[in-house]
């Protein structure tokens, strides 16, 4: 892929991921407070599944771009190790979104929320427990990654006068 196109696509995908992530984060903050059996909860769960899948696909595409057209270190403002640290955190963030998507799809599938074949019994409580736990683990992990990215951004601003508003790219 042409490097300029890849750079443009990477930037657009990063912003899209940021927007979709904010939507799902707000949804996720409200959903647990709504009673499990209510219609409102079902709507929020379905919305979570659809937007979560979109986040998974976008993150997958972003990682693909990253691996095949990695960002070039053309800047000279940050020391190499600081630049690498930031990029490792951001790369792990996208990988976590993919892991979050896989565990989420498994949890929904084993809970019978998504059905691919009519009449198939996909409900499996043991798988639901494990995939649900992992979904929660990756949730905490990306929050920790975002927190550290913000902390490093602030540190870079104070120490090197370098700042970028998009924490995803």
């Amino acid at each position: 892929m042409d490097n300029q196109i890849a750079t443009r696509l990477s930037s657009i995908t990063s912003w899209l991921v940021f927007i979709v992530f904010m939507v799902i984060f707000i949804n996720m903050s409200f959903a647990p407070r709504v009673p499990t059996e209510s219609l409102e909860r079902k709507v929020l769960t379905n919305f979570h599944l659809v937007v979560g899948t979109l986040l998974f696909v976008l993150s997958f595409f972003r990682v693909y771009l990253w691996v095949y057209s990695p960002p070039q270190n053309t800047q000279r403002l940050l020391p190499d190790h600081e630049y690498t640290q930031m990029h490792i955190l951001q790369f792990m963030l996208y990988v976590t979104f993919i892991a979050q998507g896989i565990s989420g799809i498994l949890a929904a599938w084993s809970d019978g929320l998504i059905l691919f074949l009519p009449g198939a019994d996909t409900v499996n409580h043991l798988l639901w427990t494990t995939s649900g736990y992992l979904h929660s683990v990756f949730g905490f992990f990306y929050i920790a990654l975002i927190l550290f990215i913000i902390l490093f951004r602030i540190y870079h601003l104070v120490r090197y006068r370098v700042f970028s508003i998009n924490i995803f790219a």
């Binding site: 009673p35 990695p70 190790h81 929660s136």
Partner: protein, 179 residues
């Protein structure tokens, strides 16, 4: 990508590993979640043997009463709601309900502690069962009023329900719905 692996230092990866390790522990610490569910905790014959030995009354018959629609709504709100006990968020109640993160409360009254299927109990609750803890309206009331005090170290990480009326509504809901 290769450049990252070449340029990365040990501390870069160490930070990632530490964050992942902490994240792996947090669902357990905060919600009391556990990554593996145990299919069977105690065989049905063993449960029946414990109950038979204790010669307990049938609590569902003992406490059975006809509640009005308004009372039923209040009981449901107390059990389901975020402002009430929040029990529904983790517990199934009826026979056909799908198991959730916490053990099912179906036929909870008169049942020994830590015997439900599809849940890995904490050692402390298993010890309580071995010491004769059986779920009755009284023991449930004591437990939900202050879970950590009643069974120290258990995995139900919720604040106790201080309001006696809310607890009463929850227990009435269980008597009605879990039989």
């Amino acid at each position: 990508m290769r450049n990252y692996f070449i340029n990365a230092r040990g501390r870069h990866w160490l930070l990632i590993i530490i964050l992942l390790a902490v994240s792996a522990y947090l669902p357990y610490l905060i919600f009391g979640a556990y990554p593996i569910a145990k299919r069977v905790n105690l065989e049905q014959e063993q449960i029946e043997a414990i109950v038979e030995e204790l010669d307990l009354p049938n609590y569902y018959e003992l406490y059975d009463y006809e509640s009005t629609e308004a009372e039923q709504l209040l009981e449901k709100q107390a059990f389901d709601g975020w402002e009430g006990g929040k029990c529904r968020f983790c517990h199934a109640v009826r026979k056909d309900d799908r198991d959730r993160m916490a053990p099912s409360l179906y036929k909870i009254l008169g049942r020994p502690a830590a015997v439900s299927e599809n849940f890995t109990y904490s050692d402390v609750l298993i010890n309580m069962r071995e010491n004769g803890l059986v779920w009755t309206p009284e023991t449930i009331d004591a437990f939900i009023s202050d879970p950590e005090n009643f069974v120290p170290g258990n995995r139900m990480r919720v604040e106790g329900i201080k309001d006696a009326k809310t607890r009463e509504l929850i227990i009435n809901y269980l008597i009605r719905e879990s039989k």
